[in-house]
């Protein structure tokens, strides 16, 4: 896939499939589904309860799509998610679909991709089928609503945000949903430590010391030579971290660009990549659970980087190499979380070790990077915050961004 197409992502595939169907003159072969029961979805749904609100959700696979819609929308790059909200509060609630996927598809948009040439009445029935099964807002007070939200695909365990808005109220949920056909199915998303392995801190200074004592970098798989720097630390409940990342378009990715890397004696627990249909910066994060808790919540550490060429060479050979200016990407990640509504505190810690631009630290795969040596620590919470609420902790002093001397001989 060329870079542009890759960036364009699934919507363009949707358009292609629609186009291909038109070109092939697909006959009016669509058959109205006969069994649209949600029982199979309900059976494998993941459920979470917060106060008087309960949310259940399940990801649909190709077979589910065929059964419910009479067409396989997953082949068109759409991943339907079934969501049920049981609202026992006295608030009417509203499911914010952009919180689930900033680039979600509308039901009739997906239906349109399934339209048949000269379909006439058939196309109307297709539209009706998609409309009928779509998630119906709002969710009445003391009532239940269920239906489908059409999202962009994630091939592995899907982090699904369900943000429910009420009058001056928000109830956010984050669910980890298995994906039908997931090649990594059954593996835990996050490494589990025993209680004895985890160092717990309640004091920010002690936490800072622990963060600064972590290894500077990942190791290469072969153990010889270094990997990328550990330059981002995410502190907070996994739900809150995932919700903040998801709201800014970070989605789980199957495999990392570049060579495999290890920390704490294992490969990264998972990878995320910033994606957006309108062309997001090509940022990715390798993420590990660290054996550290702070105020009872887990600490995740990450290596933030972007491939050489970024958006301009997606899919090319360059893509596996790390762009050497890792601080630029770290700072971009900080700014993204500023707008996520989940960032409460921000701090800079040492630990990576400064590497000047004219003497980059060489990695095992031949790539290299330079850095001011700072690690960004992001403290994430559930309570939605505006960026004017973010507190800057007095840890390492803030360094001005350097004029690069990369251009100087």
């Amino acid at each position: 896939m060329s870079g542009l197409l890759q960036r364009a992502g699934s919507a363009i595939r949707l358009a292609y499939v629609a186009g291909a169907m038109l070109l092939l003159g697909a006959c009016a072969t669509w058959q109205a589904p006969t069994d649209t029961s949600d029982a199979p979805l309900r059976a494998r749904a993941i459920t979470q309860q917060k106060g008087s609100v309960q949310v259940s959700a399940a990801v649909l696979g190709a077979q589910d799509s065929l059964r419910l819609f009479g067409t396989d929308v997953t082949a068109a790059g759409v991943q339907p998610v079934w969501i049920e909200v049981d609202n026992r509060s006295d608030h009417i609630l509203w499911l914010l679909r952009t919180g689930t996927d900033p680039d979600y598809f509308s039901p009739l948009e997906v239906a349109w991709s399934a339209h048949v040439t000269f379909g006439g009445n058939t196309n109307e029935r297709i539209d009706e089928q998609f409309s009928a099964l779509a998630f119906p807002n709002p969710i009445p007070a003391s009532g239940t609503a269920s239906g489908i939200v059409f999202t962009n695909p994630q091939p592995v365990t899907k982090l699904v945000n369900v943000d429910l808005l009420g009058n001056r109220a928000m109830v956010p949920f984050t669910l980890l949903l298995p994906v039908p056909g997931d090649i990594a199915a059954g593996t835990a998303v996050i490494h589990r430590y025993s209680d004895a392995e985890i160092a717990s801190y309640d004091d920010p200074d002690a936490l800072r010391k622990a963060i600064e004592a972590l290894p500077c970098c990942a190791a290469s798989d072969e153990g010889a030579g270094g990997g990328g720097p550990i330059n981002v630390v995410l502190i907070g409940a996994l739900d809150d971290v995932a919700a903040a990342a998801n709201r800014r378009g970070y989605r789980r990715a199957v495999e990392p660009p570049g060579t495999p890397q290890q920390l704490f004696g294992r490969p990264a627990d998972f990878f995320v990549r910033k994606t957006a249909q309108a062309g997001a910066p090509a940022v990715w994060l390798r993420i590990w659970r660290a054996p550290i808790n702070y105020l009872g919540e887990p600490v995740l550490v990450a290596q933030a980087g972007r491939p050489v060429g970024g958006r301009f060479s997606a899919g090319s050979a360059d893509e596996s190499r790390l762009n050497p200016d890792v601080d630029e990407v770290r700072n971009l990640v900080i700014q993204d979380f500023m707008y996520s509504g989940g960032l409460e505190q921000l701090a800079f810690a040492s630990g990576v070790g400064a590497v000047p631009a004219d003497q980059p630290r060489v990695m095992a795969d031949g790539g290299g990077y330079y850095t001011d040596g700072r690690r960004a620590a992001l403290f994430l919470v559930t309570r939605p915050l505006a960026f004017s609420d973010v507190e800057l902790l007095d840890w390492e002093p803030v360094l001005p961004e350097k004029q690069a001397d990369a251009g100087k001989e």
Binding site: A11, I12, A15, N87, D90, H91, I92, W94, L96, T98, P102, S106, L108, E109, W112, S131, N137, P138, G166, N167, R168, M170, A276, Q277, A278, G279, A280, P281, A282, R306, V308, G310, R311, F312, N323, D325, E328, N331, L332, Q335, M338, Y339, G341, R383, P384, L385, A386, F387, S388, V390, E391, L392, V398, E401, Q403, A404, D405, A406, G407, K408
Partner: protein, 431 residues
Amino acid sequence: MTHQGWAVEVITTAGMLVGPAHATEAPAAYPGYLERAQSKTLGEVTVSAAALSTEEGAAVYGVPLAEKLIQPVWVTVENRDDVPYWLMFPGLDPNFFPPSEAAEGMATGAGGPTLKELDGRFRELAFKNPVPPGATVSGFVLTNLSEGVKLLQVDLFADRRSHSFSFLAVVPGLKTDYEKSEVFRDKLLADPLLTDYTDDAAFQAALEALPCCVTNKDGSKNGDPLNLVVIGGVDDAFPALIRRGWTPTEVTWKGSVMRMMSSALSRERYPYAPISDLYLFGRPQDIALQKARDNIHQRNHLRLWRSTMSYHGQPVWVGQISRDIGSRMTIHSPTLTTHKIDPDVDEAARALTEDLVYSQGLRAIGLVDGVGAAPKDAPRENLTTDPYFTEGLRYVLVFDSEPTSLTEIEILPWRLPGGGFVEQAAGETTP
């Protein structure tokens, strides 16, 4: 608010094109954008900003940035406060280009500047955070290209405080467009004779009395429904839209139509496509915005007209929004291509509302009647003969210039529809 610093001198860019500059000389050698720059002061911070034209961008950077759809925005922050401030790039453009990435995009090899040269030059030109207390920092942020009019949203962050500055910048391009853009901006900023509403019931009645729909030029035929009311302006509503990736678009002109045609054929991402004029109050839209999704087939369109009403002193805009689900050829539009819209037009208004909940600028949401219901089995048609159906409601969005968190958004107890937003629950409690 005042619009001081908005006076603009018309500068033609032709006289400034004297070849690539050395980066460090750029501001002195190319004063066009500096003279266009607009300034505002909030508290102890003064910000100036200007968007560069295609030619200015090429002159300052020494490479044709616009060919990769990149546009530099010049920002100066003068910090007289006692804490450092950070300029937040995603506020200017959620999909902005880090300098190193843009340098990689522009390094073509083939006799041009090397990646190393470009990388050094781009970084030197870049805006560098933070702005220390008592200091002034100037530099460029690389955004996605827009021509004509560009909304510049400068969000500054400091420890537990922030300032947000908004500018409506005119970008010189084709001369005729530039003049049109200037007229356009002046119209946006002029204060019409306002009727201010402070009584909710009277305001709802006034909103419901507005026409159901846009019309064609002579008003003889109804088009898309007016399903949106935006309350706020350059300092509050527009920043929220920018943060969520909405950018202004200009009305149709020939060059852009040609590019849209080729874009429709090649399926490339093209962030700037024209939309056709629709009419309300006897004039075409005052501002049209679009949110590119991936290519010309998926972009959502929003048209706004400034009304003569204000609500608690804030300007009231009446609008129309639709979701494109493809483009098609038509003889009903003078540009010959149009967008196939999602017939469920309420979906588009709801989607915008949901998206703006995350803008940190939305203060309240309400619903009023006024569109008139068009059921699925008896849809109405817009001017390009796309059918649509609707519950008949208008989504009213009230904005605030101070950042607002998600839990502070008020649902106004106006219309209590079956499928509408929210009714006021008895005995408010947090769920």
